[in-house]
Amino acid sequence: MQKITYLEAIRQALWEEMDQDERVFLLGEDIGTYGGAFKITKGFLEKFGEDRVIDTPLSESGFVGAAIGAALMGMRPVVEMQFADFISCAFDQIVNMAAKYHYRLGDPVPLVIRAPYGGRLHAGPFHSQCPEAWFIHSPGLKVVAPSTPYDAKGLLKASIRDPNPVIYCEHKYLYRHAKGEVPAEDYVVPLGQSDVKREGTDITLITYGAMVEEGLQAADQMSEQGIEVELVDLCTLYPFETDTILASVKKTGKVLIVHEAPQVCGIGGEIAAIIAQEAFRHLDAPVMRLTAPHTPVPFSAPLEDYYLPNAVKIAAKLNELVSY
């Protein structure tokens, strides 16, 4: 199997879906001639032409709205936000127009919005945000956040083939830092399934995106102390799947939820609440969370390092749980 980067996996998914379905087209800033701020669509303009790789003016609400209209006409637009941070400029079109359309009128809106998100690149408050919770809380949207090249490719293909608006959160740090095996032949990773990235018996660690790799490193450290951590990767943040989570919790009795987004009203609280309700009798310790603090994402290295969860901090929390 080919070993490729997360970025290449996203590129391949886009390329293959455009190649096999002419309804698929791309809209965004600098995605054509320039090939995208992260060069994900490099070569697409040459291959698929101006009609299907559209450099838009700087107007997120305008081109997201346009993508919705094209989707209603049976196209399968994939919008690139240059950075997830600018998705807030299109917020109204996403939560009011796209999200509610099918519920109100029964017509599908097959739309994917790619949101390059997350920190660790010292890019400051406006190029590092994690927007997922806003959209998880908005009925009518699906939200996806892959952690590996395999998932990135399979989930993007599934998102493009899905008849609903999908916010596809691709972590910028993983673009070049995550490498992994990806089959050459066509496959999808279905939306709405979480994935056990590591089996274990003692503690359940629930996370997604860039925190999966950190969690796995922490799990290895714990393993040296004889503590076996089971890591559940949510993969899809809405609709998220709870069976895997609850099965794991019932096995381990201890849970740590980790994410990079701010804690308050994040997905971590939601999952913790569900566990506290559904697996109440099986818990041997309080459900713990490790997230970013309730601040904007700071720029300077020492600040951002302090701000972000990582393997060391995860291991420390896991140890707290052990000794509970």
């Binding site: 559209i54 838009t56 003016p57 305008g62 346009a66 993508a67 209209g69 006409m73 009128l105």
Partner: protein, 319 residues
């Protein structure tokens, strides 16, 4: 432009039907049978109908909240409209959304939502789909003067211009955005002065003259269809009632309303029909027909079942 009498009577039919349905809805509202807001386009019917009649069946429209006429011309049935107002399962939204917040892609109508101007980029995207697929269809976005102050107006019109898309932007300039007169919305005289910023043709017409609206739309539609890009059509008109039925519009100067009452689009068109020698009988026929349809619609709606509460959970996602 010489239209056959039957075409003219079609205009007349839709004018009467639209006015009649909305008058009837106002009655129902007063009787407390309509929940939520009650929005009508009294006095602005010629804009919706004249333009919609100038389109091909598979052209796409994104009507606004004063465009019942567009829905009717595109094929929405009076009973569907009534059922939606009354929140019944038989309405196009199955009770999920109210009044004219609906649409129906089987008639190529994009659903209206409240945030003003949101339909503009969406209609632009429909036009983009036509361009990509090399279809000779066009899209039409409807909106008010107030909506043209929103960023989505700017972003949508600009995108349409840059991509030379087959779309018409039709503005009901009814001189008010809720209680706010034009003078407090913009520092230019015409909404069309705003549209000049995008580099495609703009026109200003009498929105109460259905023939002028029809003609302007036909001409712009032909240009759009042949790759000539967007056209902006500002239709001068007047909002003859409150913003919604709860609003007595006491902030609107009487004289202004009186002036425009004298320019009612339906009365005006009736006069024209008589000049054209259309026999009274034909007009009466239309009126009886319309009356019948409206009463049937009301009866249908009132007899229709409400949705079951449980249905609230259905259809958030498409399968």
């Amino acid at each position: 432009m010489d239209l056959a009498v039957d075409d003219l009577l079609k205009f007349y039919y839709y004018l009467r039907l639209t006015r009649g349905l909305e008058d009837r809805v106002i009655k129902l509202y007063r009787q407390g049978k309509v929940l939520g807001g009650c929005y009508v386009g009294t006095g602005e019917e010629a804009i919706s109908i004249g333009s919609a009649c100038a389109l091909e069946p598979d052209d796409v429209v994104a009507p606004s909240h004063r465009d019942l006429g567009v829905h009717l011309v595109k094929g929405v049935k009076p009973k569907e409209y009534m059922a939606n107002y009354l929140g019944r399962r038989t309405g196009p939204t199955r009770g999920r959304d109210g009044n004219i917040h609906f649409g129906d892609l089987s008639h190529w109508i994009i659903g209206f939502i409240s945030p003003m101007a949101d339909g503009i980029p969406v209609a632009t995207g429909a036009a983009l789909a036509f361009k990509i697929r090399r279809e000779s269809r066009i899209a039409v976005a409807y909106f008010g003067d107030g909506a043209s102050s929103r960023g989505d107006f700017h972003e949508g019109l600009n995108l349409a211009a840059v991509l030379t898309l087959p779309i018409l932007f039709i503005c009901h300039n009814n001189q008010y955005a809720y209680s706010v007169p034009l003078s407090r919305q913009m520092a230019v005289q015409h909404v069309a002065d705003r549209a000049k910023a995008y580099g495609f043709p703009t026109r200003i017409i009498d929105g109460n003259d259905i023939l002028a609206v029809y003609e302007a739309t036909k001409e712009a539609a032909a240009r759009a269809r042949s790759g000539g890009g967007p056209t902006f059509i500002e239709c001068k008109t007047m909002r003859m009632r409150g913003h919604a039925e709860h609003d007595d519009a006491s902030y609107v100067p009487r004289e202004l309303l009186d002036e425009w009452r004298g320019r009612d689009p339906i009365q005006g068109f009736e006069g024209y029909l008589r000049e054209r020698g259309v026999p009274e009988g034909r007009l009466k026929e239309v009126e009886t027909q319309v009356f019948k349809e409206i009463e049937e619609a009301v009866e249908f709606a009132e007899k229709s079942p409400f949705p079951d509460g449980l249905e609230a959970l259905e259809g958030v996602f498409a399968e």
